[in-house]
Amino acid sequence: MIEIGFFLVFMTCGFVFGSLAEQRHFKRIIQREKMMNSLPVVASRYPPEDVAYHQHLVAGSVVVASDYFKSFTAGLVNIFGGSVTPFESLLDRGRREAILRMKDEAKICNAELIFNVKLETTRIATGRAGAIEVLAYGTAMTPVSLLDVNPTTLAAIRKSASSQTDS
């Protein structure tokens, strides 16, 4: 009896807070995507050769957890087969958030493009439900002319580059 009670409480909590959090997250993602529209992300491996660029490796990662309700409904769908929509939206959220964080990092470098973007997804097991980790990374391309114009950005790039190399 107590177990059923716990189950119901978890289900309601998961449903209410989970979908609220998801809605808010999607809203924020769409807002930020609009702001970041000027910075295209390209999956191509070959950079343009006509403009001189400064390259910089940028990355963004996020860990998102599924909620109790999502996990349970996913389990139900698993019995009958079909597309597991609760997890699809979770993965979508994770990927878009990771790309946005990567773009944030690239913006600091004054980048104009992000090249050769790769996405890496891993399932992280925490308890019975799952959480996923998404890592997005690519090469941010800052035009050398922009580097000259903005010395503070150059300083920021050099600082982050030297923290990696200390040379």
């Binding site: 909620d67 958030e97 890496e120 980790e133 990696q164």
Partner: protein, 106 residues
């Protein structure tokens, strides 16, 4: 040290391919974080603790890659790839690898 996940860099010429360099890092958070994460699993949402954890491991793995590249006399690492895997509950491995090269500005 130039790190890039591109294979060809405009303006640069590869003088010498030195070899594969790698760096990896396995980290975990204290139990409190794990407990918080499992509670968060009921409600859903981002697990900030783990995001931070992966960020730290990424930095550490990259730092190790750079150290290795320097030891063998490279001045750049190209075609860098990241790979992640969960080793156990609450611990994650980040593995980063790439080709160490000697570059020359053209």
């Amino acid at each position: 040290m130039l790190i890039s996940n591109l294979e060809i860099l405009p303006d640069y010429r590869i003088v010498k391919h030195i070899g594969l360099v790698q760096g990896s890092s396995v980290r975990s958070k204290h139990v409190g974080r794990d407990i918080m994460a499992s509670i968060k699993n009921i409600f859903g949402g981002e697990l900030e603790g783990y995001t931070e954890l992966l960020h730290e491991s990424r930095e550490e793995a990259t730092a190790r890659l750079v150290t290795q590249a320097k030891e063998i006399g490279a001045n750049a690492v190209l075609n860098v790839r990241f790979s992640t895997s969960s080793i156990a509950a609450g611990a994650a491995e980040i593995f980063v690898y790439g080709t160490a090269v000697e570059l020359e500005k053209t």
